[in-house]
Each structure stands twice: as C-alpha cells, then as structure tokens.
C-alpha cells in the first residue's frame, strides 16, 4: 500500500486512525508501488472492493485490538498472586447473549455492504466493449471480436498484454483451453477463474492510461508461477491508433535483408504453431499455422504485431530492455500512450531473453516439451520445444521478428 496516497485521502486517514497503531505499523511495512498491490485501485470496480475493505478491515482491526487488549489485561490482572481459588461460577447467560448479539449486529452491517457490492460488481448490462480472454498452459490469449463502433472491423487476436481504452466498461469473457486458470489484475478488479467449458464474466475499467500487472491465481500446473499478465489502458484516441495498427496489413521484409532470411526460417519452423496474419509461403499461398496438430491444448500465441507488445512467453519475459521498460512503466498518464504505442525498437529489444528463448525455450520456462515424454498427449507438446536453431538462424529470426510491428 502506498502510504503517501493513503494519507492524502481524508476518509482513509480517518479509518487509519481508527485502526490504530497496528494499522499504521502494517501500512508502514508495505512496499511502495508493488505492481499487484490489492489496495491501489485504478478503476471503479477495484475501487468498490477497496471501499468495502475500508469498512471491513478497520472493524476487524478494532475488534482485534480490543480483544487482544482485553486478553492482555486479564492475563496480567488475574495472574496467580496467591489469591484463594475463586468461586466456581459457571457463567452469566446475559453476558453470553450480549456477546452473541453484538458480533451479530456488526456482521449484519458488514453483510449489508457486502451484499450490495456483490450485485453491483456482477452488473454487465451497461457493457461498452467485449474482449474474449482464453487461458492456456501457460499464457493468455486476447481476442477482440468485431466491434465496429470501436474501429474493430476484423477480429484482433493478441497475447501477452490486454489493451483496452480508459473510461470504458470492458467485459472480459473468460474461458480456458485446458485446466482452470484465473484472471487477475488487482488494480482493476478481483479475480475470476477461467474454467474450460464455461464462460465467466469479469468487468474491467481503468480510470487513467497506464499499465497494470497481474498474475494467474489458480494453480494451473508446472509453470503456474510464470503465467503473468499485463493490462494496458490507453486513452480513447490512442486506443483507436492501437486498433488501427493491429489491423494493418502484413508487409514482408525487403528481399536480401537478414529479416527476409528470417522470414524463411519462420516459415520453415515457427509457422507450424505460430500464426502471422498475412504471411505467405514462397509459392504465394497463405501460410497457416496448425497449432492444434502440435500443441495439446490447441493454440499458440499469434505473433502478428509481436513488437507492438512489450512481453513474450506468457508475459514471463519483457521484450523491452530494463531501462526502456522502466520508461514505459513509469510514464505519466499523459505520456504513457505515445510511449506504449512506439512499440519495441531494435535498440530497446531485450535481445538476451529473446535469443535464449529461441535457443532453448524449455530451459527458460518449465514446460512439457520433451519430445520423448509425450505419450500421454499423443505426441503433442504442452509448451514450446527446443527447436535446435543455429545461432545464425536465431540472428535471422530476431531480425525478422523486429519487423512485426
């Protein structure tokens, strides 16, 4: 929790005072700007939850302090000082009844607020935008269905970062292709499980442009810890630009460049699973990925416009070098849009991780990608295998991937 922000808000200040010393110590013990802090709401849904917490936590804190103080008092006052053995009284029913009713009343108050918040947070009628979110071991796919009023005229399929306009009530329709995952961007809302065979709804809305971190929160197997997400909120104008960039036609690299050679490597290797929209084979026919033939859960990230995202491999690694990344993350909300839309330039590319990934992906992220251990999946992979690329191939591929803006 950011202590500075808390003190600024008068309501919070009052509550904090009420919660007493314990609360203050607790807040002082928190990191500044933890990206997944649950108490730094950046949108109305998370704010609703936060408001509720600012009722419940102080009450719990006060009750806790009172009970512990009472315990301390009793422990001191009634220690054995040589007094006689007390009368063997068996209790006072009035005291019992009072001590039952008081907590019940407190909980009734909490219950009323809770009840209201549950139904408010479940509201979906006034949705302004829909994004389909699909979990798969161990990454998320974002699929923007056609919504002409937002400029989305052909479906956009992306991964790594969820991009959305600010001040817009976005409805995520979550599902999963294999096991249960859970989508959680703490700054925007609580979490909701993505369950295979079901569609669950989660509303997100961001107040200001910025980037918000999240993490899969339902244990989903081997690389659960590496299944991260980032939600990017852009101003409505910037979002329109982003939509346009995602619908831009594919341009093949110029002949004779390293990138062009990289395209050939991509066609030979990567396209088995990874789609790049508009990519054509040497004979001019469209190159269509067939991840369902190679990947057990049925999909692999669509890499069209890869360099417009800042992450890869299920948001486990950054495409931006540390300093470039910090530049985007720390940008003010006014500057953020432009910085984000600039994408990944060659000078900013995190070559180390990207190359290591291309060299041997399973060494970077635990996956079931050992070709000798695929009997239970009928020979299909769960994760990206080691493709045995040469350093030369990797140079070419990196050059090619940099063109996917």
């Amino acid at each position: 929790m950011d202590t500075v922000n808390n003190v600024k808000s008068s309501r919070r200040r009052i509550s904090t005072t009420v919660a007493g010393l314990t609360g203050l110590l607790f807040l002082a013990g928190c990191a500044t700007n933890a990206p997944q802090d649950t108490w730094q709401a950046k949108g109305p849904n998370a704010q609703k939850i936060s408001d509720l917490q600012w009722i419940v936590f102080p009450i719990a804190g006060v009750v806790g302090v009172l009970v512990l103080a009472l315990a301390g008092y009793i422990m001191f006052k009634y220690r054995d000082k040589g007094q006689p053995i007390p009368t063997q009284g068996h209790g006072k029913p009035t005291a019992e009844i009072i001590l039952t009713i008081v907590p019940a009343l407190i909980l009734t108050v909490v219950g009323v607020f809770t009840f209201r918040a549950i139904f408010e947070l479940a509201k979906t009628e006034d949705t302004e935008m829909i994004i389909n979110v699909t979990g798969q071991q161990w990454w998320w796919e974002y699929d923007y269905p056609v919504q002409t009023e937002l400029g989305i005229n052909t479906p956009i399929i992306s991964s790594g970062q969820l991009v959305m306009p600010v001040g817009t009530k976005v409805l995520l329709r979550e599902t999963s292709r294999d096991v249960i995952h859970s989508y959680w961007i703490p700054a925007l809302n609580g979490k909701k499980d993505a369950v295979p065979g079901r569609i669950h709804l989660l509303r997100l809305e961001a107040d200001k442009p910025g980037i918000f971190a999240g993490q899969c929160t339902e244990f989903c197997g081997l690389s659960h810890a590496n299944m991260r997400m980032e939600a990017v909120a852009l101003s409505k104008e910037d979002f329109a630009k982003w939509v346009a960039s995602q619908q831009k036609a594919y341009t093949s690299p110029a002949d004779g460049t390293l990138a062009k050679e990289g395209e050939t490597v991509f066609l030979n290797q990567c396209v088995r699973c990874h789609q790049v929209n508009g990519l054509k084979k040497a004979d001019g026919t469209p190159a269509l990925a067939a991840p369902d033939e190679n990947v057990y859960s049925g999909a692999a990230p669509n890499l069209s416009h890869l360099m417009s995202r800042n992450t890869f491999a299920g948001a486990m690694f950054d495409l931006l070098r540390k300093s470039c990344r910090a530049d985007v993350w720390d940008a003010t909300s006014e500057e953020f849009g432009a910085k984000y839309l600039a994408g990944v330039s060659e000078s900013c590319l995190n070559q180390t991780d990207l190359r290591a990934w291309l060299r041997n992906a399973p060494a970077m992220k635990p996956m079931y990608a050992d070709p000798t251990k695929l009997t239970k999946t009928g020979g299909k992979y769960r994760g990206m295998p080691n493709l045995g690329l040469t350093e030369n191939d990797i140079d070419k591929l990196v050059a090619y991937l940099l063109t996917l803006k």
Binding site: M1, F26, G29, C30, A31, T32, N33, A34, P35, Q36, D37, T38, W39, I49, L52, Q53, V56, A60, G61, G64, V67, L68, L70, A71, I74, Y78, Q83, P84, P86, T87, Q88, H90, G91, L99, T100, L107, V110, G111, T114, I118, L121, A122, Q137, V179, I180, S182, P186, G190, K192, V195, P196, G197, T217, E218, F219, L222, S223, H224, A225, R228
Partner: protein
C-alpha cells in the same frame, strides 16, 4: 488385553493367559510386552500413543517440506527446487499436515483421553480402533511412497480437476495420492463411528451429555462432521480414480464434463474438514484454560452449543472457497452471509475463554501458555477470516499469501498450539513424567515468535499481490523500497527456521524427559476431569472402579467443596487420596478385549487391494483374498476371549466383568 488383574494387589501381574483358538485356525496373540504387544494391541491407550508417534513423524516430514518451500522462496527466482519439485512439495506439505499429522494427532488425543474422560475402560470397538490406526499408517506410507516411485502428487491438496487428470498430471503421484487418501479416509470413517458410539453409549453412570468434558464434546462434533463429510470426498476420489486408471471422463471437458463438480464435492468435504482440524484444539484448551485458571469453563453450554453450531453451519459454507470460480452473484451472496454467520459462534468461544480466565487465579504453565497462544493467534486468524467472508474482498485475496497467512494463523496458531498445549498438559498422564517446564518455555516462545515471523508477513505479501503456489516470485512484481517482497519473504523464511527450532526444543524435551524426567505426582495440575481419577499412566483397565458422576468437572468437585458461609473453595481431598480410595474399592474382576491379529492383517489386505489400482489386477486379487480371509477371521474371533482362556490369579473364573466388547 486379555488379562485379569486384581487391581488391589500391588503386583501388576498379567495373569497366565492361555491362547484362544478362533475357529481352531489361528491362535490369538497373547504378548503383553515387547513389540508384539503393540502390533496386535486393541488397547485404546497404546493405540493412542501409536497414533501420536505416527503423527509426529509425519509432522516432521511435513515440516521439512515446509522449510524447503521457505528456502526456495527466501530469494527471488529461487533455485533450491525445480518447478516440478516445488509443486510436489506444497501439495505434499498440505496433504501430510492435514491428513497425516493434524487428524491423526487429534485422533491420538481422542483415542487416549476420550474413554478416560467419560469413565470407560476402552472404546466401543477396540479391534476397529486398531484397524483405523493401521489403515492410517498404510495410507500415509502409500502417500509418501510416491516420492520414490516416480514423483509425488503435484496438483495441490485441493487437486482441482482437470489439472489432476492423466494428461495434465502424468506421473503416478496423483494415483498414489488418491489411494492414500482413500485408505486414510476409511480409517477416519471407522474411527469416527467408533468414537461416536463410545461417547454416546459408554459414559459412566451419571455423566449426562451436559456433564461431559468439553474436549469430549468437541471430539464428538468432529466425528459427526467426519461421518457425513468423508463419503463425499470418497465419491470425488473414486471418480478421479476411475478417470485416471480406467478411462472414465468425469472431469474431461472435451467430453462435456464440468470441472466445478470436483470443486463442489471437494469443498463439501473440505470445509467441514477445516473444523475437523480446529475443534480438537478448541476442546483441548477448553480443558487447559479452566484447569489453570482454577475456574470452570465460563458458559459451558454456550461453548458446547457454539461448537455444535460451528459444525452444523460448517456444512453450509463450502462455496466460500469458490468465490472466484464464477458461481453467480446469488450463490456468492448466500455463501458470503453464511460464512459471516459462522464467525458468531466462533466469537462466542473466544469470549468464553477470556471470561474463563477473568477472575481466575492463573497459573502460567507451558500448557497454559500454549492455550493462551491459541486464543490470541486464533483471534487474529479469525478476524482475517471475516475479511474474506466478504466475497468481493475475497476476490482480491483468494489464492494470495493473505490466505496462506489466514489459515496458518487458524491452523498453526489454533490447532497446533492446541495440540502442544495438550502435550504439556497430558504428558504426565500418559507417561507418568512431567515435561520439563523450562525447555517448554523455550519451546513456546520460539514457536510463538517463529510463527508470527513466518506467517505475519504473509498478510502483507498477499495484500500486495503475491499469489500462492508459485515456485518462484519475481523482482518485477516485488515493489520498491525496503519493505518489498524481498524483505518480507526473507523475514518469513527466517521465521520458519525459528519455528523449526521451537519444535526441536519440544523433541529435545521429550528425549530428556524420557531419560531423566521428574516423576509426576498423581494430580500435578489440580485438574478437573475424570481422566485424572486414573493413575498416571493409567492401568490397562483405566479405572479400578467405574466412577459415578454427579458434576461437570467431577474430579475437581471430589477434591473441593464450597464453604456455605464464605463461598470460598475448600479442599476436602487430594487427587492422590481419591485415586487410592478407588483402588481400595476396586471392581473384582475386569475383563478386557483380547489382542488380535486381524486388524493388522485386514489393513494390509486393504492396502494391497488399493495398490492393485496402480499395479494391476493380480495385485488386486491378492489384496481381495487377504481382505476376505481377514474379515472371516475377524468375525469368527470372539471379541472378548472365552472364559476358558483365563486362569484367573485366584482360580476364580466367575463374576467376570466385561469392560467392553466389539
């Protein structure tokens, strides 16, 4: 044991025992000393001690697993364990602690003290009692054998489908997990039926339900919870087994299955299970707090009824584990409210414990310190529990370290502190020696400090967004400043070792006490309940004369009476005098159930039968044959040896008293 003993005679001689011939096939075991006397015993006290030993071993195993987890998480991108090893580690840590430590340790106390507290000579079904123990041992061995047979289960103790399916969890770990739990589940079911019958049917004359010690009451509630929740997890485990081993598709979404079926079945069991874990701790401190406050429990009926209502409501709150699972707002609201409701009886308990101490004459023994530790730590855990009964708030907290903090305050601060309080309180009863109080103090303070250092920071980590069940955490999400994830994870890891040292003090204490501990007086704590009317350690038949009960806290009221004028308590007898009086008026002949081979044989048969699921039909057939054989041997063996099996010390074979049967 099949002995006739003249309690009044000073020499504790097991009588000459001639073996009985069940069906003329196998002779009854007769050993009353040595390892055979333990292996084939049906004595609830020996079984209780064995439960304790087994649970303690698994406590250490689970503890080592916990330390490895904390080592891995002390620094970002930990490299002590691989992702796979870590996932196995946290799965087995929880499974071990819940099913192989907490439940059996509560079982140890229940087995040992329940008959003593109600003035009985054994449980209702002594052989079934032995069967429970051996099945538990079998289940525990199968669960842990998986470490050496291709990897342990790696799906979390909640084992959510479809991640637990054959494709997503390809090693045999989950198969062993299912089997181990199934077998341990049968053990618990048998044990719980046994204990319920014991409490309901075998109370000493005059002990009405509302004169039963609170520990007995809480154990009774727990057993009812088990009887009605275990079959539900049994169904879930059977479905999972059919899917993994026989090709069924209960949780295969491509066949149209609904993964939430598992969650509902699991938590309908899993939430009552939480109270199964905590109520024995509540029961223990409800004995300890009054004893060391020198006052009866404040509001006994309220404590009893709140325990019972916690049990009842506990069946109606399971979906609060699923607030993020997409249930729909109506279900969420209902379960949110019912979860808040359960806080009320829990609060009642805490207030009653505090008011028990109010106006008392508090004696700070180690047992009392642990009991107060429970009250304080459980209060913290309970309040953080209230914060996530608020469903919207829970959607931010669930599956983060905040939850880990919460349930460790409740289970470690609640249950484990309760059990340790019980160790120090009842050790002299069981072994006749007092645990060293000085070492006990070290034990307590290291545990309190270690526990708060370990689990306290997890509240902060969770609220700042560190999810649980992650084999690494990354600096990218750690935040800035001194007090970031790095700091708190390090504190927590250091705390876990402080905690481990605390538990080491206990083990040292046990060894030292066994070697040269102080002989305990008959009534070292000026205690209140019937178990102290037996000698320490109790004789094989528990009571020389079955007590007739007139009061709640019968033992105390035999020692003290209220002065009608001054209303102060006046001692009229010491515990020792009372025990001697009982010996003098001992029942003439006491007839106890005989030891038996069959519980052990049957348990082995069931274990082998289970392994057949993994190792194929022939193994299963062998197991089934052993089970059938053992069942017939069991049925045909008289539960109490025939009179001709005895040659009573004075040659008088008549007027035998049946201590129990079963």
């Amino acid at each position: 044991m099949a002995i006739i003993e003249r309690p009044s005679s000073e020499v504790a001689t097991p009588a000459v025992v001639a073996p009985s011939q069940a069906l003329g096939a196998i002779r009854r075991p007769v050993a009353s000393k040595g390892w055979r006397s333990w292996l084939f015993t049906v004595d609830h006290k020996k079984i209780g001690i064995m439960y304790g030993v087994v649970a303690m071993v698994f406590f250490i195993v689970g503890g080592v697993e916990a330390l490895l987890i904390r080592l891995q998480l002390a620094l970002p991108d930990g490299r002590i364990l691989s992702a796979d090893q870590y996932n196995q580690m946290f799965t087995m840590h929880a499974t071990t602690m819940i099913f192989l430590f907490a439940m059996p340790m509560a079982g140890a106390f229940a087995n040992y003290f329940l008959p003593l507290q109600i003035g009985a000579r054994d449980v209702a079904f002594p052989r079934l009692n032995a069967l429970s123990l051996w099945l538990l041992v079998g289940g525990g061995l199968i669960l842990n054998a998986s470490w050496f047979l291709g990897g342990a289960a790696d799906g979390g103790w909640f084992m959510y489908a479809p991640n637990s399916g054959p494709v997503f969890s390809p090693s045999n770990g989950v198969d062993f997990w299912v089997l181990g739990l199934q077998i341990a589940g049968i053990a618990s079911l048998i044990g719980s039926i046994n204990l319920i019958v014991t409490v309901l049917n075998m109370r000493a004359p005059g002990m009405t339900l509302m004169k039963m010690p609170v520990f007995t009451w809480m154990i009774l509630v727990v057993q009812f919870l088990l009887v009605f929740s275990l079959p539900v997890i049994t169904v879930a485990l059977v479905l999972l087994m059919f899917q993994r081993s026989y090709g069924a598709t209960f949780f295969d979404v491509s066949q149209g299955a609904d993964p939430l079926l598992w969650q509902h079945l699991f938590w309908i069991f899993g939430h009552p299970e939480v109270y199964v874990l905590i109520l024995p701790g509540f029961g223990i401190i409800s004995e300890v707090l009054p004893t060391f406050s020198r006052k009866p429990l404040f509001g006994y009926p309220f404590v009893v009824f709140s325990g019972a209502s916690i049990g009842l409501v506990g069946f109606g709150v399971w979906a609060h584990h699923m607030f993020a699972a997409g249930l729909g707002p109506v279900s969420v609201a209902v379960f949110s409210i019912s979860t808040m409701a359960i806080a009320i009886p829990t609060g009642v308990k805490i207030f009653n414990w505090l008011l028990t101490m109010w106006g008392g004459k508090i004696w700070y023994t180690t047992a009392m310190k642990f009991a107060i530790g429970l009250v304080v730590l459980f209060t913290i855990g309970g309040l953080s529990g209230v914060t996530h009964s608020v469903a919207p708030s829970d959607t931010q907290q669930t599956d983060t370290y905040y939850i880990v903090a919460h349930f460790h305050y409740v289970l470690f601060g609640g249950m484990v502190f309760g059990l340790f309080s019980g160790f120090y309180y009842w050790w002299p009863k069981v072994f006749g020696k007092l645990l060293n109080e000085k070492l006990g103090s070290w034990n307590f303070w290291f545990m309190v400090i270690g526990m708060n250092l370990t689990f306290g920071p997890m509240h902060i980590l969770g609220l700042q967004g560190q999810p649980r069940r992650m084999y690494v955490w990354t600096e990218a999400r750690a935040g800035e400043g001194l007090f970031n994830f790095g700091f708190w994870n390090m504190v927590s890891s250091i705390g876990s070792f402080v905690l481990a040292v605390g538990i080491l003090f206990f083990l040292i204490n046990v060894v030292i006490t066994a070697r040269n501990g102080k002989q305990a007086p008959a009534d070292p704590w000026d205690a209140r309940t019937l178990e102290w009317l037996a000698t320490s350690p109790p004789k094989e038949h528990n009571f020389d004369r079955i007590p007739v009960v007139h009061h709640l806290d019968e033992f105390f009221h035999r020692k003290y009476e209220e002065d009608p004028n001054t209303h102060t308590m006046r001692q009229i007898a010491t515990g020792e005098e009372l025990i001697r009086a009982e010996e003098a008026a001992a029942d003439s002949d006491i007839h106890l159930p005989g030891p038996s081979y069959w519980p052990l044989v049957l348990a082995i048969g069931i274990g082998v039968l289970g392994l057949g699921v993994v190792y194929g039909t022939p193994v299963m057939v062998v197991g089934a044959a052993v089970v059938l054989l053992a069942s017939f041997g069991w049925v045909l063996e008289p539960s109490v040896p025939e009179a001709i099996d005895y040659a009573s010390p004075d040659g008088d074979g008549h007027s035998k008293e049946i201590a129990t049967h079963g």
